[in-house]
Amino acid sequence: MSASTTETARKLMIEVRGLRKSFGSNEVLQGIDAEVAEGEVVCVIGPSGSGKSTFLRCLNKLEDISGGTVVVDGFDLTDPKVDINDVRRHIGMVFQHFNLFPHMTVAENVMLAPVELKKASKAEGREKAMELLTRVGLAEKANARPAALSGGQKQRVAIARALAMNPGIMLFDEATSALDPEMVGEVLQVIRDLANSGMTLVLVTHEMGFAREVGDRVIFMADGVVCEEGTPEQLFNDPQQERTKEFLSKVL
């Protein structure tokens, strides 16, 4: 984003040091170092199996962390004294397959967390939900069940749901990969609006054009390590690593 001029003075929202993650004997993350500043939009790209989704899922501890440290919004996720439920309220997450709750209406999906976590009464929760649904352009679907929505609509509801706790950070795990091509645009528009609002975003994505457009920084991961990172211009126009060039030649 053009507004981010004083990068170093800004608060670090995410600080990852030497992050390792193994599934059995398979080490998926082999020592990741990364930082994300407040208001920054970071896109993570890379080939399948490079560990980018696992990396993202470590940022709100959906995966147990095998080694290293992850500090998010001041909370050290590897500290056993830290209540992970508290941390997660500061981090919204959007999944590839939406994961909407099918037994609830759209509004109930959005208001579940604020109401259950006693941040809002039912009436306040509903009001907030309507506000968020208006923001993603789906206020008229408030009383529909998720099954009645298109893929793009589902993902927009999922974004509204993730925003309900007023998180400082939003994580997007291939948020458009499961969508029909004609629905990708509407979801990207919502994310673009979030980026423009100054929220901290980390996106794992296959949409290279979108990464180039909204990303302040792009991280290229391969084989469980950060291979290269930089501004979109640097990474897409002048990649330094062979691995990066090889990947970009295939996807661009």
């Binding site: 709100n60 959906l62 439920n85 997660r88 997450m93 709750f101 099918p102 259950e116 993730a162």
Partner: protein, 479 residues
């Protein structure tokens, strides 16, 4: 299989009873005055005990024990359990005494204390009415006969089985034995002569071809060393009944001139049996309802324990499921009603035993249904909920379980229906459910097929209604 289990059980429990030493001695009727004694009896031993058209327990034994009780000033509460079950109940002190057309034998005297004989019986053989091939024991060569488990008929049949080269197949109830003979699966039945005589007079489809074998005196029994006052009072009362002619009147009433059976129509049978059957249906429904609620609680707990991260918690649940899925329901019915009371010395209410049996068995299946239901919910649902900051418990409660229940509902309805039908097995411990009531009826009137047909229709209608109700509830709550 039931008979075999009971036979083994009687040996085991019998040995325990024999070890108890004798104490206390009778002191006359003042010792029993005003007290209430629980008396166990057979379900089906007409004319000694059977249910009349009004569903009341009647017969020689019943009339004698009631007359003695009246004379001696005590009260009796009759429990119609079945012959073997009544003896088990006596050994485990669930009942105070047993009067069930029981012959006084040396083996039984080891375990029980008997009154003076109140009836001189004997064994007789009967064959199907239309069978002209069997005229004596010699004609039994290579054939199968039937007799009642643990009764004198069985002892006698086995004593001559080798000599005449026939096999003995033992059953638990007179009515079942007669059906076996009429269906041709056995050629003859050995039973106590008054019972046979009464049945034949009721048109049970049999006839006698050999003479009665004298022997066997019937006695009233109490547990060895227990209830000596009751035993003394019975002897005293029996002597008075014999002296004043009341005893002969009772015998004449049932044996003197067996009432020639007046065949009634199916509709009359239906009308007369329906009140008792509906009472049974009510017990079936109530015990199933209570047990299902308990099974759901057990099953939910065990189901959640099965998916716990702690290996010990998981192990406890897996063991529970394996034990109750891997053992027959009937075994647990016997265990809870006869076994546990002997270990603890505390009598157990039959409803408690029945609910424990059904709910623990069903709870094991419900646990698996719950586990499967929860595991069938997309893991992404839990992840989405957790990523919103909801804890594991809240996520389960609000997100996973509601969806799991939707998937579980058809299996749970199925389990409920299985339980309703399985509750019929409780007849083995004398629980007065629907099939038990049916047995009571055909034991007295020998109309086995028609009675079973009526019982079957009632079960079917009950299950259909339950299914409709459950499906309605499913649609209502799982939109």
């Amino acid at each position: 299989m039931v008979a075999a289990f009971l036979a083994v059980a009687s040996l085991l429990f019998g040995a325990t009873g024999a070890a108890a030493d004798t104490s206390a001695s009778g002191s006359g009727n003042s010792a029993v005055e005003g007290k209430t004694f629980v008396i166990g009896t057979d379900t089906t031993f007409a004319p000694f005990e059977f249910r009349n058209a009004d569903g009341e327990l009647t017969g020689i034994d019943m009339d004698i024990v009631r007359a003695v009780a009246e004379d001696q000033g005590f009260k009796v509460e009759i429990r119609s359990l079945g012959f073997n079950a009544a003896l088990q109940a006596l050994t485990s002190n669930q009942v105070d005494g047993v009067i069930a057309g029981m012959s006084i034998t040396d083996e039984r005297k080891e375990v029980y204390d008997f009154s003076e004989p109140y009836f001189e019986s004997g064994v007789q053989m009967a064959v199907a009415k239309g069978n002209d091939d069997i005229k004596g024991y010699e004609d039994l060569k290579g054939k199968t006969v039937t007799a009642k488990t643990g009764a004198e008929g069985e002892t006698y049949a086995k004593s001559i089985a080798k000599k005449y080269d026939f096999k003995v197949k033992s059953l638990d109830q007179s009515a079942s034995m007669y059906e076996l003979v009429k269906s041709g699966n056995a050629v003859a039945v050995f039973d106590d002569y008054p019972v046979l005589a009464y049945g034949i007079a009721q048109n049970n489809g049999l006839k006698t071809v050999t003479d009665k074998v004298p022997g066997g005196s019937y006695g009233f029994a109490v547990n060895k060393g227990k209830n000596a006052d009751l035993l003394a009072a019975f002897n005293d009362g029996l002597a008075k009944l014999k002296a004043d002619g009341e005893y002969d009147k009772i015998l004449d009433k049932y044996l003197g001139d067996p009432t020639a059976a007046q065949p009634t129509s199916f509709w009359e049978l239906l009308e007369s049996s329906l009140p008792a059957l509906l009472k049974g249906l009510k017990n079936t429904m109530v015990v199933t309802g209570i047990s299902f609620v308990v099974a759901m609680i057990i099953g939910l707990a065990a189901g959640f324990m099965k998916i716990a991260r702690n290996i010990i918690v998981r192990g406890i649940s897996t063991t529970f499921v394996n034990v109750f899925r891997g053992t027959p329901l009937l075994l647990w019915a016997f265990m809870f009603y006869f076994g546990i009371p002997q270990l603890t010395g505390l009598p157990i209410n039959i409803w408690v035993a029945a609910v424990l049996t059904l709910s623990l068995n069903s709870g094991a299946y419900v646990a698996e249904i719950v586990r499967g239901g929860i595991q069938s919910v997309d893991p992404g649902q839990m992840e989405a909920s957790r990523s919103l900051g909801l804890g594991y418990g809240k996520s389960m409660q609000k997100v996973v379980v509601p969806q799991a229940f939707k998937m579980m509902t058809p299996s749970l309805i199925n389990q409920l229906i299985i339980m309703l039908k399985d509750s019929s097995l409780l007849l083995a411990i004398g629980f007065a459910e629907l099939l038990y009531q049916g047995q009571q009826i055909y034991a007295a009137n020998f109309r086995v097929t028609e009675t079973l047909f009526i019982v079957g229709v009632i079960y079917f209608v009950a299950v259909m209604l339950l299914t409709k109700l459950a499906n309605f509830a499913d649609r209502r709550f799982n939109k």
